[in-house]
């Protein structure tokens, strides 16, 4: 019995010290981690909507629906949004920037884990540049040999764009 108590005491102490040190490290890095995530998000938004000066997240509860892209004076020039769909071997996440009139400015695939050399081509400019200045995405050509990955990007962006157009045009 006494032995058992000793085991518990040793293990408990180790756990206590461990959690205390983790708490310290966490408080040191927390702000930095949040800032990094924000900077990253900001950077990808900037990339698909370079004309914007800053972005404003439009939220429903805690979930971000889309971002309003604003110029220096704070007037709306367009929106940015995240679209995702199941690709061939992963969920493909795309960030897209769209002007007020519904024209896509640019897209960027931010996260995917598709087949190297085939599906991963959706991240390359030869594919993503096709989206520039398009209103409808019917003309965007899927990559030969990577139809499923390409469709994931095209369809998810088109669907989300359609949804948001409705919101934009609503009074």
């Amino acid at each position: 019995m006494k032995e058992m108590a000793r085991y518990a005491a040793v293990l408990g102490t180790i756990c206590l010290v461990a959690s205390a040190s983790l708490a310290v490290v966490n408080s040191l890095t927390r702000d930095k981690i949040i800032a990094q995530a924000q900077a990253e998000e900001e950077a990808s938004l900037k990339e698909v909507m370079p004309a914007a000066d800053h972005f404003e997240a439009v939220k429903k509860d805690t979930e971000t629906l889309y971002y309003r892209a604003l110029d220096k004076d704070g007037s709306l020039i367009g929106i940015c949004f995240k679209a995702e769909a199941k690709g061939y071997s992963s969920t493909v996440q795309t960030v897209a920037g769209m002007f007020k009139d519904g024209t896509i400015n640019a897209i960027k695939v931010v996260s995917q884990n598709e087949t190297p050399g085939l599906g991963t081509k959706v991240t390359e400019p030869s594919f993503t540049d096709q989206f520039k200045g398009k209103k409808g995405l019917e003309e965007v050509q899927a990559i030969t040999g990577a139809t499923i990955s390409s469709r994931a990007v095209i369809d998810s962006v088109a669907k989300k764009a359609e949804e948001l157009k409705g919101i934009l045009n609503a009074p």
Binding site: E3, Y7, C15, T29, K32, P116, G117
Partner: protein, 197 residues
């Protein structure tokens, strides 16, 4: 002195964790796509290995034998979490590339293996040397595998393309290529070992 030195050098070739002890193959297979990944993973694992070895060697007389495994795991998990938080804060790109395999260092058998097989019986000094040597051996093995895979699978090394017009063999960027490369390297290690012995 010579004996102390051998605690350090044994991890590099003679008891190389990857090619001879065959430990920690899961992260090796998963992250060894580019050399940068390999270096990052190697450094992270070496830090955890070294820190865990030190602490466990220090506590070797306090930790009761019957609860040693949970104690080791708590110590290791703490250091892994520290590495993960630091990586997220200071190198988010690397963190993204290594993904789930950073937290999985907790169950990397090299770390627990060295704690169990070595650090809990050794002096702090020897535990440090062992941790450094094993970490270095793991890192070097990773870099070797990564270099082969990155060159064959993407045609680059450290993200610089080397030969113009080289059509990369994509399979080496995929898990099956990792198995192939590691299998062949283990075979090569065995051939070299048998030739010497």
């Amino acid at each position: 002195m010579k004996k102390l030195l051998s605690e350090f050098t044994k991890g590099i070739v003679k008891e190389n964790p990857t090619f001879v002890l065959m430990l920690g193959l899961c992260p090796t297979l998963a992250v060894s796509v580019t050399v940068i990944n390999g270096i990052g993973m190697g450094i992270a694992a070496t830090f955890v290995l070294l820190s865990a070895n030190i602490i466990i060697s220090l506590l070797k007389n306090i930790i009761p034998a019957r609860v040693r495994i949970p104690c080791f795991i708590v110590v290791i998990a703490t250091f892994v979490t520290i590495v993960e938080m630091a990586m997220k804060a200071y190198s988010p790109a690397l963190n993204r590339a290594l993904g789930i395999y950073v937290p999985l260092i907790v169950v990397n058998c090299i770390v627990l293996g060295r704690a169990e097989a070595f650090a809990q019986k050794a002096s702090v000094g020897r535990a440090i040397l062992d941790g450094l040597g094993m970490g270095l051996g793991f890192t070097l093995a990773l870099i070797l595998i990564c270099a082969i895979r990155e060159f064959l699978g993407a045609g680059t090394l450290m993200n610089y393309s080397l030969i113009k017009g080289f059509e990369p063999a994509r399979v080496f960027g995929m898990p099956s290529g990792a198995l192939l490369v590691i299998g062949l390297l283990v075979g090569l290690f065995n051939v070299l070992k048998n030739r010497k012995g």
